[in-house]
Amino acid sequence: MNAPPLPVGEDELQAYIDGRLAGDRLAAVEAHLAAHLDLGKRVATDRRQRALLRGQLEAKANEPVPARLRIASLQAAHRTRRLGQLGRIAAVIAIFAVGVGGGWYGASLGRPGAGTVAQTASTATVTQGAVAAYRTFVVEVAHPVEVDARHEAHLVQWLSRRLGRPLAAPDLAKFGYTLMGGRLLPAGSGQAAQFMYDDQSGKRLTVYVRQAEGGNETAFRFQREGDTASFAWIDRGFGFAVTGMALREELLPIAEAVYHGFERGEDAAPTRKD
């Protein structure tokens, strides 16, 4: 640069190129450039190249954002991965529990058609999914549910459509639990629905429903893992689980109520495939 000594600094020239000067300094720089033609030409070139660069890249910013960069789909993928990891951990725990012979208890409730023993594996799958989902979302403070109870009708309709079965969020008010909302989860090659409830003390309970194709009806299976207890059963191609931090005696009547609730729902509105 062979420009004469500058009353205007190089930093100010850069700010001028970027259009970030105003008032007196802008006037001073403009006067200076008018008086120094070579410098004026140089700065004009920089300004033009800056504008051309912006123009060249403008089209890129105006392109529609591709689906794979939508935040919702990234979040769904993130959840799936996290649940996959939790699912594997839960599977290890379940195998260990069976191995020591202390983890599984069947409890037939004498309901119609209840009770083949051969489907333990399926109820185990349901329990695993339910417990993994319970552990993931019960601790969640900011986003415990995807759709909250204020939009219950939408939630139920959405989950029913995705699972291909009419669902209803069971009314657990007489047990002191109110609906918080629910979410859709991946379950094997299909989907699962989770309804979450809490009581006045903030204790949470979930009702979990997943597709369990080919699964025969089973009795209730009880499982306890630490302080988390779960009753699971299979009924007409769907697996159900009621999971909470509760005693077996507390959870059993809730599971029964949920079972009868879904049984009635089924009668009222026959299964459709979406």
């Binding site: 850069q14 070139t45 920089d46 190249q49 800056r50 910013a61 392109e63 794979r68 979040q75 900011a142």
Partner: protein, 168 residues
């Protein structure tokens, strides 16, 4: 409630623009943006409240880009500086040619100067924000900005001279 989607979605177009200018390949640029968003989501709760979300995302994107670059896995395609002109290029097309050249010429700059010209000149970050983003003192940012523009001008003057000779 701070829903990441509502805060992140409006920033994606400018992230794609910066990524594209860095790697010069549409798919590789979207890969970079996807990695950036995934990292941001996985660290969402670690984000400083009241911090500049946009600057944070650009920092993540640039760091991912530099990591990939260091590992030698950069997939960007380089457009040669002296693009062979079509026969009979008219004078009115000079500006289009120069625009193509600016982006290509930018590739000849060191990454730091290139990023600086993009962050300040295209993405409208303040000099202070750009300095924080690049981890440089403000004075250094100003002198590198000046040097980067000087170099860009020199590259384009040579390229333009070549171009004009070929056309004649």
């Amino acid at each position: 409630m701070a829903d990441p989607g509502a805060l992140l979605e409006p920033l994606i177009p400018s992230l794609r623009r910066y990524a594209y200018a860095l790697v010069r390949d549409h798919d590789a640029a979207d890969d970079l943006v996807q990695d950036t968003l995934e990292r941001a989501l996985s660290r969402w709760i670690l984000r400083r409240d009241g911090g500049d979300l946009r600057a944070w995302l650009f920092t993540i994107l640039r760091n991912l880009h530099l990591d990939a670059y260091r590992r030698g896995r950069r997939q960007g395609t380089h457009v040669p500086l002296d693009l062979a002109p079509m026969p009979g290029v008219a004078a009115t097309q000079d500006n289009a040619m120069e625009a193509q050249d600016v982006l290509a010429a930018l590739d000849q700059l060191p990454e730091e100067q290139k990023s600086l010209l993009l962050l300040v000149g295209v993405e409208d970050f303040s000099y202070e924000a750009a300095a924080r983003l690049l981890g440089l003192p403000l004075g250094t940012v100003m002198s590198r900005l000046s040097r980067g523009r000087q170099k860009l001008r020199a590259i384009l003057e040579v390229g333009r001279a070549t171009l004009l000779r070929r056309v004649k």
